[in-house]
Symmetry: C2
Subunit: 422 residues, 2 copies
């Protein structure tokens, strides 16, 4: 089936490079992009046209780090540092997901809020509950969200009796969970919460499972000074945090590491050389006072950097807000560096929140030919009247800062239009 | 006329002190607060009751610094430092307000967006246009917004031929403007843009007018290093920026100074001793890389600090978002200070965005007896379901981070309900 999307097409092929096509055409065949052009090719004359008028056809967002079971505590408990915040707020809330009805309601809401805000790809932490994790995966898939979800592993330093597994149980449940995953667009990813939460025995088992089943891994790295110090106590034979994952075969290509706020030059090199992908979570780093990540430097050094909302350390689910927060945080970093480092531009923020994330899933740059379409359409008709007509590029900039959910009139995920507002 | 507001009442009497009354009653007589209590007094049995159910009755917000004519450029031009940003974006946009039809449309929209987001008091910069300034005042008044608006004075370092006055013209137009102000709830305030924009002759004239007519003054102070250096060049006889206002009688009780990011100990003492009021604009300071204001230190030193959205250096009009940005910025300040300074709590942010501002207009602390009511009602029914029932105080915290305009179901300004959503 051939379809055409008509409107102002804005994608980003590389960091800081925006491609703007005013009143262009995006050609789609069975959900796959066949090209972006200025006029309709003759042999496409019969294709169905989705005419978005003067709307902005942009890439959809990829949220590369968030905790599904923390969605209920969005915007709460922001006055505590990481380790206290986990103990006081997070663990009790996650424990609630033993209740599958509660999980169903919460995850259905989360999935709906994600897709209607234009997030079509995710890498998400669930809780340690196998059954609730399947429910999360199912609700995401039903809503049209794609990507990876992980049942969390944690067999120490949790809340015994409330939120913690036995080692054997954690391994057994992981295997049961993996065997029960049968979703088309939501795949499993191994998810040791972080080194502090997992015994060596559990980490070693996860490393084996990753190798045997060819699975990716996601976790946390170098977020907070107390966390780093505690990790070092647990692994006194290591020099740096990343080695505690490497020991067990979890440090490899496509391993996702959230935060990396305090990764020094050596750790950053280890990230780059292994093909590990950084997930920068600006809002969370600020909210729980973790630190100000030197993102621009990471990019200059050639690291792969993507963005995450980090719900609920982050308090903003929509990725356009996360992009704006990322830009602001990069300006804070600049001020911290005595105005010696560059901040991220709007175009760069857009790249990190879209193409950088989509590439993790095997996609090409921007609206690349052959890729399944992941896109949103923004209608900015209700933004304040400007002093003079804006270029499409200026409208794009304003859209990043000012979009609300109702401005997103269409969402395409994996080649299908899954949200449509008249 | 006697009315009663029924719901969960949350006000703040001092910095960090929250007063929560679950299912309480706020008594109102001819728009004036007569008390807050747990049950209805016998002689109030006949009063009309506004029953907001389980809603949160909170203080409305005071936005103490924003530029009305910059509303059209919200979320744009964020990649430039202050002086370039003014020249490239701001001045051309402000020049557009010579067109009174455009001014009418823009200011009507702005007034509506302010009041429906719960901002009932403002101190606002207009442009240098007298007639457009009256239109701004009229539209605010019609919408139910109260406070002060200033026609801007600028007779140098603007954009000659586009946005700049002759000295005589600026003085003459200021007097014409003042004589033409006849609004009940929107009053004039003298508004030299900043020292860079005003010759000594103009500043002296404004000082005289302020004294003769008993008017307040608003301007900018110590926002950005280039601005400070330029100001010093223009006034080589001064040690610090604040003296350039003091010279001309503009540094006095109730003078509002936006930013003060770089005010040192001496300047901060001058602020405190004169009764000058600081308007902290967190979002703007970050967006245009001005710096990270030490707000907590200012408060500890006894300065009066209020909050401003600083549209359009700030990109967020709703004051609940400005409060969240203020809290985040105070955490950045903490990180900059090597975790040695405290951040602002949610309760403290709420105080700065409400009571601290309302006091400028002569109001008391919180919902003080005798004051005209300024309040909002937040209905949080569509927030994600929590893991367990929340206290009203927890709901308050979540409301600061998560409110959207549609959650504000009622707005009271100067004793009248000016917004009501079913």
């Amino acid at each position: 089936m051939r379809e055409i999307l008509k409107g102002n097409i804005i994608d980003t092929l590389a960091l800081g490079q925006l491609r703007v096509r005013e009143q262009g055409y995006l050609l789609l065949e069975d959900g796959c992009i066949r090209g972006v052009c200025d006029s309709v090719p003759e042999d496409w004359a019969d294709a169905a046209v989705h005419d978005y008028g003067d709307g902005l056809i942009m890439q959809s967002f990829a949220d590369m780090h968030l905790h599904g079971p923390q969605y209920p505590m969005l915007g709460m408990g922001m006055d505590l540092p990481l380790m206290d915040w986990l103990d006081t707020y997070t663990f009790p809330v996650e424990a609630r997901f033993a209740d599958l009805d509660y999980a169903r309601r919460t995850y259905r809401r989360l999935a709906s809020d994600l897709i209607t805000n234009g997030t079509t790809r995710v890498c998400m932490f669930s809780s340690l509950h196998t059954d609730a994790t399947w429910i999360l995966m199912e609700e995401l898939e039903k809503a049209g969200v794609t990507g990876y979800v992980g049942k969390v592993n944690m067999d120490r330093n949790g809340k015994p009796g409330v939120l913690q597994e036995e080692t054997e149980e954690s391994i057994r449940e992981t295997l049961r969970w993996l065997d029960g995953c049968h979703f088309e667009h939501i795949k499993p990813i191994l998810t040791p919460r972080f080194t502090i939460s997992c015994t060596d025995e559990l980490m070693a088992a996860l490393g084996r499972i990753a190798r045997e089943r060819g699975l990716y891994v996601q976790s946390h790295l170098s977020e907070n000074d107390q966390e780093i110090a505690f990790t070092h106590e647990l692994h006194p034979d290591t020099q740096r945090y990343w080695e505690t994952y490497d020991k067990f075969g979890l440090w490899k290509d496509h391993t996702l590491m959230a935060h990396c706020v305090w990764s020094d030059e050596v750790e950053r090199r280890a990230i780059r050389d292994a093909g590990v992908v950084v997930v920068h979570c600006a809002d969370s780093n600020t909210n729980i006072c973790s630190g100000v990540c030197p993102v621009k430097r990471m990019l200059d050094e050639g690291l792969q950097v993507t963005l995450g909302s980090d719900i609920a350390g982050g308090a903003q689910l929509p990725m356009y807000k996360v992009i704006a927060a990322t830009i602001r945080t990069s300006k804070t970093r600049r001020m911290l560096d005595n105005w010696q480092s560059d901040f991220l531009t709007v175009e760069e923020g857009y790249y990190l929140g879209t193409t950088a994330g989509h590439r993790y899933f095997g996609a090409g740059e921007g609206f690349a030919t052959g890729d399944k379409l992941h896109a949103i359409v923004i209608n900015d008709w209700d933004f304040p009247e400007t002093a003079k007509p804006l270029s499409v590029q200026q409208r794009f900039e304003r859209a990043i800062y000012m979009t609300h959910r109702h401005n997103i009139v269409s969402v395409w995920s994996e080649g299908r239009e899954v949200v449509h507002r008249d």
